[in-house]
């Protein structure tokens, strides 16, 4: 009997969540939306597990809250002097005190177990097929593709706040932040000139550092943030499952323009990514060629 009910509940849950998924537009999965209440599920297997962990701890807290606040509200309604309540004189109960010391311990262990497993998996940056070096500067990011299937693509570029956002964000610009858009999406302060382009379905390792002060590299849909610290190299990894444009921001106060150094990750299917990479390499080679032919000329002139 009970198992039938559980099965029905489970079916109902699956149907409603599927309905919610199909109704929501694609952007709902990725970037912040007006009136958004909850954490994103993200676009990596890790970020989905982070979301699940978040929901577990949230519901545990809600459940405890309902019990504790329920008891308080009941007490406040019932045991009022105005209703003629006569105070009791008891002031301890060893049994109760043992119960409410041991129960939280059990609940915490139940929460700590999946958290530990997830944390261990998040720490495994080995076995990646691609490495990107990220360097934080005041107030921009540098991305260098240092390894792609054991080849060094030799591509690197700076990524700064998009000029449209930059114009609007000046104090007293009088321009409307709502006017900054890419298609239908409001991208004010969340758009850059050169996004970090990544392939879908490849385990990417990020090695992260900073040049001047501490920054923090955060794209919510990847499920984590990692501080970028001068003199230190830290690492993290992600394996993106869906193509798309994913937005984030610097998350560690880094001075005047801390709020104005966004992060954009453009995830492409693997073949498109490789095409993009080849284009970049060709462009770089062409630029190097021009520089080489120009160099002797400038020497003779000098």
């Amino acid at each position: 009997m009970i198992s039938v009910w559980i099965a029905r509940l489970r079916r109902a849950y699956v149907t409603t969540s599927l309905a919610a998924l199909s109704l929501a537009p694609m952007t709902a999965l990725a970037n912040p939306e007006p009136w958004q209440l909850n954490l994103t599920k993200g676009v990596t297997p890790t970020s989905e597990r982070v979301h699940t962990m978040h929901m577990i701890s949230l519901w545990v807290c809600v459940a405890i809250g309902v019990v504790v606040f329920g008891a308080m509200i009941y007490a406040m309604l019932r045991f009022r002097k105005s209703k003629g309540a006569v105070p009791a004189t008891w002031n301890h109960s060893t049994k109760l005190e043992v119960i409410w010391t041991v129960t939280p311990i059990i609940i915490l262990i139940v929460m700590a177990w999946p958290a530990t497993r997830l944390l261990v998996d998040m720490a495994h940056t080995d076995g990646s097929d691609m490495t990107v070096k990220i360097t934080g500067y005041q107030w921009k990011w540098r991305y260098e593709y240092v390894d792609y299937y054991e080849q060094n693509p030799g591509i690197g570029f700076m990524s700064t706040l998009h000029v449209d956002s930059n114009r609007v964000r000046q104090v007293g610009s009088g321009l409307d932040p709502k006017s900054v858009k890419v298609g239908d999406e409001s991208t004010y302060l969340l758009d850059v000139d050169n996004p970090l382009v990544l392939p879908v379905g490849v385990k990417v390792r990020f090695v992260i550092t900073a040049d001047d002060v501490i920054h923090s590299w955060w794209v919510p849909v990847l499920g984590w943030k990692q501080d970028a610290i001068p003199g230190m190299v830290t690492s993290a990894w992600a394996s993106i499952t869906r193509p798309g444009t994913y937005r984030g921001q610097c998350a560690e106060l880094c001075g005047k323009d801390h709020g104005f150094m966004p992060i954009v990750v453009k995830a492409l299917p693997k073949d498109e990514f490789e095409r993009w990479l080849a284009e970049q390499q060709a462009a770089k080679a062409a630029a190097a060629g021009t520089a080489q032919t120009a160099a002797p000329a400038s020497q003779t002139q000098g």
Binding site: T116, S186, Q226, A251, L253, H258
Partner: protein, 542 residues
Amino acid sequence: MAHAATHDHVAHDDHHDHKPQGFIARWCFSTNHKDIGTLYLIFSLLMFFIGGAMAMIIRAELFQPGMQLVEPDFFNEMTSVHALVMIFGAVMPAFVGLGNWMIPLMVGAPDMALPRMNNWSFWLLPVAFGLLLSTLFMPGGGPQGGWTLYPPLSLQGGNGIAFSILAIHVAGISSIMGAINIIATILNMRAPGMDLLKMPVFVWTWLITAFLLIAVMPVLAGAVTMLLTDKYFGTSFFNAAGGGDPVMFQHIFWFFGHPEVYIMILPAFGIVSEIIPTFARKPLFGYQAMVYATASIAFLSFIVWAHHMFTVGMPLGGELFFMYATMLIAIPTGVKVFNWVSTMWEGSMTFETPMLFAIGFVILFTIGGFSGVMLAIVPADFQYHDTYFVVAHFHYVLVTGAVFSIMAATYYWLPKWTGHMYSERWGKIHFWSSVISVNVLFFPQHFLGLAGMPRRIPDYNVAFADFNMISSIGGFWFGLSQLIFLGVVVHCAFFSKVKAPARVWEGAKGLEWEVPSPAPHHTFSVPPVLKPGMLAHDDVSH
């Protein structure tokens, strides 16, 4: 001759309860715990309004997307100085003021153990905050790197940082001296029969807090001194280019910073443990458990510091240790909450303003505790860290926690201090206005953080606009509500006609209610004789 004259003078004061004549003699040279307590409380209220004005500037700029009012670096100054002023200038001195006023009255001591040092502790504070606030008017401005002063950022910019560091040193010396005074008073000056395990919980929580202060304020002093030498004397403690480590600062800072968090909440636990039994007319549930829970929280506060820095790239083992240790804190804190609820159970409750604030404290502090447990889960913290979710969390524990307890304490003991009753009607208006607006202010910040808004940014994407506007409206409303508080306190002190009895509240127990209201300038010159039923906790069988 001179000695005899002094002696006569002292004896004269004792017998006739004369206050020193003249404003300067009474307030500037005061060695009286009540007057110094009053000074602390007035100073703290002033800082509360100064820090609050900065919060209003922050919320005004964040009212809608786009930069309308201030430059980003001034915004950063506001967030940094708002925190420093509120933590070191408002909350900590308020608790020291309450301790000064109430601890000698609660343990039956004639005054603090070290009255001249008490005077010095207080008068260092205006110096410290004069220095700190003066940096706002210096070339390069005040600190802009956050109250946490993380290098290398905090060392960029002007020489204001040297003044800020000196201000922190001076405030730290004041705190350490205050703590020594409180420990000396509690351990040496209790009335005969006032055993440690009969003391009021407020006195217990302050005793433990004072040990925390002595343990960690020197650590902060060390950290900021290293910042100073890194900037001015060519050292490289935190400078990676010179072989130092910027993360080491964070470890040292938070080794101070986490106990500091409990310095600001343990006395609040004590206050609430005084107020709830009074208005429930029922003894505090689990007195000894409360004391032991406070001590456990204090111990745990020393081994959880790195949960403020889970994203710096610590080794996996370190992150696991700090996650488990942090989760443990939920247990003694839970014991406290359950004990408060049990104290209310089968009581006979009335809901005067102190009780309203105490109940508001229990519910809203617990909400802050819940988000604290969520933040302890490291993989989820990788998302929450440095977002508005954290801002919401610590404002729930600090505003609806620490600040609400200070307001509860003020309403609870104000009649004892002034000899007059405050306006219950306006006290209740203040409570309801504050408790609604503070939730309008901080609750939406949970959503903002989860949706992806980082903290300490002056401008944001339009997706965050709606909740920011709601939060700002709540902020202005909460700020204005505090003018009601000011009005109630001023009215009670100078204009109220309603005389307060010695035992102001029907269910109140403890020595502070045995002396008249207002408490005479000198109390317990002769140690009180404890009688059965006089103390709240004279049955130590539990």
